[in-house]
């Protein structure tokens, strides 16, 4: 885990899935999550990511139900076991989540050197 003095540089946010939200490594970090919208009650939504797990995104009305594409990318802050939404980007209605998941696993493990800000690279 990065030391307490490390700050995320602009443009750096790890791409993760629902399982990784619970890992201490990403606690309180700004991250990106791509997933399929499962439900949206107007103040939070559930996204299903490529690992088959679901994560809650708290958006407090920023995302109107039924107005998003089937797949979205959320950039937000990991807070306990949910993600506080900052930005939502549409990812169309046909997105290959499985391949995306494989890709982010590579980025978060073997290829951190070309993906992660140096202070956040872990062994």
């Amino acid at each position: 885990m990065a030391g307490p003095e490390a700050q995320q540089e602009p443009g750096f946010y790890p791409r993760i899935n629902a399982t990784m939200v619970k890992e201490s490594r990403y606690a309180n970090l700004i991250v990106s999550i791509v997933g399929k919208c499962i439900s949206n009650d107007g103040s939070s939504m559930m996204l299903e990511t490529g690992d088959g797990q679901q994560v809650r995104i708290v958006h407090e009305g920023a995302m109107e139900p039924g107005q998003q594409t089937a797949y979205v990318e959320i950039v937000g802050c990991v807070t306990e076991d949910f993600v506080q939404h900052f930005v939502c980007r549409p990812m169309g209605d046909e997105f290959d989540l499985e391949t995306y998941n494989e890709m982010i696993m590579l980025q978060n493990t073997k290829y951190q050197n070309i993906t992660f800000q140096d202070e956040y690279i872990t062994a």
């Binding site: 443009g11 169309g92 391949t99 070309i114 800000q117």
Partner: protein, 274 residues
């Protein structure tokens, strides 16, 4: 928000052509003084923004994975866009970093199609950018000669996988998907020569590593006999290391058309030309 409806041109060789650095007024470019590289040294490298930002080396050269890419390709999200009379300036982020991209506009030769394409690019859109790395005031940025909305969000996944593949090929040298190991009698330094860098994007018939190994072998044994190196010897030497005969034949064809080797007594015996 739509992603336009543009066809994705997978033929990245179409991004080659006239070097825009000769018309760009960017004073910081040092590549204006360098002689134009031969076509075999020019390639398009898909990379992450972090790789671009880390490209600056001690001697002022901009190298990605130890190589000077003629062009780089990024797929990233527009964080901000500043429209100007002669250029648009974007800030792009892809999760690995943030970089400034400048796209010069030639208003006299610009058509409606180009203007319409640029107008579609707005903050929070994913775009594909092809351009050249440059450095100004200690910061690395990109001078783009092509910017376009991605044809599909899956292009984001594809680009990152492509960047990983090229990075792996550059740093460890893939041979038919297997990681390169020490090959006896053949010099295999870290990094790679011009023929192998990014060749996968332009030459889909052989991995860049195969061509380098065949070249190294022929170079090493070329002078041992007057007629040079026989194909069957190359197949025997490299076959055990996972290089197939068809890959060797493809590599020989490439080396021959590059002028690196020539045939001697028959079509299957070669000498090193350099």
């Amino acid at each position: 928000m739509s992603y336009g409806g543009y066809e994705f041109n997978a033929d990245t060789t179409s991004y080659g052509g006239a070097d825009p650095m000769q018309t760009s007024p960017n004073p910081a470019s040092s590549s204006d003084k360098k002689p134009r590289k031969p076509t075999s040294d020019q390639f398009l490298l898909p990379c992450t923004i972090k790789q671009c930002l880390k490209a600056a080396s001690a001697d002022g050269q901009l190298l990605v994975d130890g190589q000077d890419p003629h062009q780089i390709k990024l797929v990233a999200c527009v964080k901000s866009k500043e429209e100007g009379e002669t250029a648009n300036t974007y800030e792009l982020e892809d999760g690995t970093g943030l970089i400034e991209v400048k796209e010069w506009i030639n208003s006299t030769s610009d058509g409606d199609h180009a203007r319409a394409r640029r107008a579609l690019i707005q903050p929070n859109c994913y775009v594909r950018v092809v351009g050249k790395l440059s450095q100004f005031g200690g910061k690395v940025n990109v001078t783009a000669w092509h910017t376009k909305l991605v044809a599909s969000p899956n292009e984001v996944t594809h680009h990152f996988l492509d960047a990983i593949w090229c990075h792996e090929n550059a740093t460890r040298g893939l041979i038919n998907g297997a990681v390169k190991s020490e090959i006896n009698g053949i010099s295999t330094g870290v990094g790679f020569g011009p023929q192998s860098s990014g060749v996968a994007l332009m030459d889909t018939s052989t991995g860049g590593g195969d061509k380098k190994h065949v070249q190294d072998y022929i170079q090493q044994f070329s002078e041992e006999t007057e007629q040079g190196v026989a194909l069957r010897d190359i197949v025997e030497a490299l076959g055990g290391k996972g290089v197939s005969e068809s890959a060797i034949r493809n590599a020989i064809q490439g080396l021959s058309s590059d002028g690196m080797i020539y045939s001697t007594i028959d079509e299957e015996t070669f000498k090193y030309a350099m």
